[in-house]
């Protein structure tokens, strides 16, 4: 979907989140335009959720050269932001119509559950990472401050094709450990 954690570029998630932000902004603008000057803060501020929760989050990672989290974390985070966005949109629609719904609160609850799940998943992944010395996780680009670009470790032979299966499954083992049969 929006996030490809095994890619080394931040470009795709940034573009995806920006597209969602723009869509939310256009949607809220058009809806408010046709609502006979009835305004709802949930509709007016609709684009802020994917902007702050998605785009800026990835941008901060990019600027600070922090690798993007693992697949599970990003998936949970992505869906939590989407759930919040849809909940805000529906709340705005009901506000403008002049009614309420007993079900809109479940979007906030679900979104929070997913967000907490993403945080926990990130924590587990981080703890796993720091508690396994000697392994390097290939979640994202390895960057140095000097070069400012991806630098792959030197003197490693080309990774065999069958290792792509391991990467796709999300198991972040270093190539060197696979070489030495620690898998």
């Amino acid at each position: 979907m929006f996030i490809s954690p095994d890619e080394t570029s931040y470009r795709k998630p940034l573009i995806s989140w920006m597209a969602l932000t723009v869509f939310a902004a256009v949607f809220s603008f058009v809806y408010e335009l046709m609502s006979h000057h009835v305004y709802s803060p949930f509709m007016v501020g609709l684009c802020l959720i994917p902007l702050a929760g998605g785009f800026l989050s990835v941008l901060v990672h990019r600027i600070r050269r922090i690798p993007l989290p693992d697949v599970r974390t990003q998936t949970l985070h992505c869906w939590s932001i989407l759930t919040f966005t849809i909940g805000s949109m529906l709340t705005g629609v009901f506000d403008i119509y002049g009614t309420t719904s007993a079900f809109t609160k479940y979007y906030w609850i679900l979104g929070m559950i997913l967000l907490i799940g993403a945080v926990i998943s990130y924590g587990i992944h981080y703890l796993k990472k720091i508690n396994t010395p000697g392994k390097r996780y290939l979640n994202g680009p390895v960057m140095t401050r000097r070069a400012g670009k991806t630098e792959h470790p030197a003197a490693l032979p080309e990774m065999p094709a069958y290792c792509s299966r391991i990467r796709e499954a999300g198991r972040m083992e270093s190539w060197s450990s696979i070489q030495h049969g620690s898998n």
Binding site: M1, H36, H37, V38, I86, L90, G98, T99, T100, F103
Partner: protein
């Protein structure tokens, strides 16, 4: 095992279906909570007197027990229709639900509900089904739920008097015990104790502009005014709440209350829709509503 594709597929489908359900439940699926019995919708002629002796003109209706006069005003670039109602008995002021059913997403156009109840005069009500608040109609309590203590309701008592109350100050049952026969939960109150009670920047549902409006006012004893203004057209701009309140004050109202406006604003008199109801300003057409206030 958690995989991105599997989770995304499952959760995406779930979210889509749930959202569709929420929208359908809010706007489409009719939900009937209570049907009004035949006794509660008894023939209006029993309380209105002998309508066979009514004197009817294009703008007035006079019979034993009631006089209704329609006047048209143009103020603030807006066409305003005022029905001046004089009754011998407050029992002639009634309310009715669409399809005689209390529920959600159950609607009919004002003229149809009015015809079904042999109404001489009718305006749209407070569209109770879209809001949470006290609902008392014709002396029967339908809803005592309140989610906003500051919600202003209009109470019509059995002696014909009107009062604007706040839901946080009393319960629906207490109102019923005090003799309330009708309670509306739209608002806000426009006139209280003869004075304008809305501020110039006050609006309903964050609307800050001119719109079609419906209002009901009490002048004295059993003397009422039903007011409907057009709007959203080039001929009729609409009124802000403050302008509406000022107009009600100019009619001499002791108490006045704002009902559902916009595309719902409809006045029915003597078998015809008097005003030009419109939702978007492009087509003149009645909107289906959940309830009406009528004279019969």
């Amino acid at each position: 095992m958690f995989t991105k594709k599997r989770f995304s597929l499952f959760y995406g489908v779930f979210l889509l279906l749930f959202t569709a359900f929420v929208l359908l439940q809010a706007f489409v699926i009719p939900q009937s909570y209570q049907t009004v019995s035949a006794a509660e919708t008894s023939d209006s002629s029993e309380s209105s007197g002998n309508t066979a002796n009514a004197y009817i003109t294009e703008n007035s209706y006079t019979s034993d027990g009631m006089t209704v006069t329609i006047r048209t005003y143009t103020e603030n670039d807006t066409q305003i229709y005022v029905a001046d109602v004089l009754l011998d008995s407050p029992d002639s002021l009634k309310t009715a639900f669409a399809e005689d059913t209390y529920g959600k997403n159950i609607t009919e156009v004002t003229s149809e509900i009015a015809e079904n109840h042999d109404a001489v005069l009718a305006i749209n009500g407070d569209y109770y089904s879209a809001r949470n608040g006290y609902v008392i109609r014709n002396g029967i309590l339908y809803s005592s739920d309140s989610t906003d203590g500051d919600q202003e309701d209009l109470v019509i008592y059995e002696d014909g008097s009107m009062e604007v109350i706040r839901e946080g100050d009393t319960t629906a049952q207490e109102l019923l015990d005090q003799g309330a026969v009708q309670v509306f939960c739209f608002g806000p109150g426009l006139i209280e104790n003869g004075s304008v009670s809305v501020s110039e920047d006050e609006e309903v549902g964050h609307a800050m502009s001119s719109n079609p409006r419906t209002a009901i006012g009490w002048i004295s004893d059993t003397h009422y005014v039903f007011v409907v203004s057009d709007g959203r057209t080039s001929e009729s701009e609409g009124l802000t709440l403050y302008e509406l309140a000022e107009f009600m004050e100019s009619l001499g109202c002791e108490t006045a209350y704002n009902l559902d406006g916009g595309g719902s604003s409809t006045m029915y008199f003597n078998g015809e829709v008097v005003n030009c109801p419109t939702t978007n300003g492009h087509s003149i057409r009645e909107r289906s509503v959940s309830d009406i206030v009528y004279i019969a």
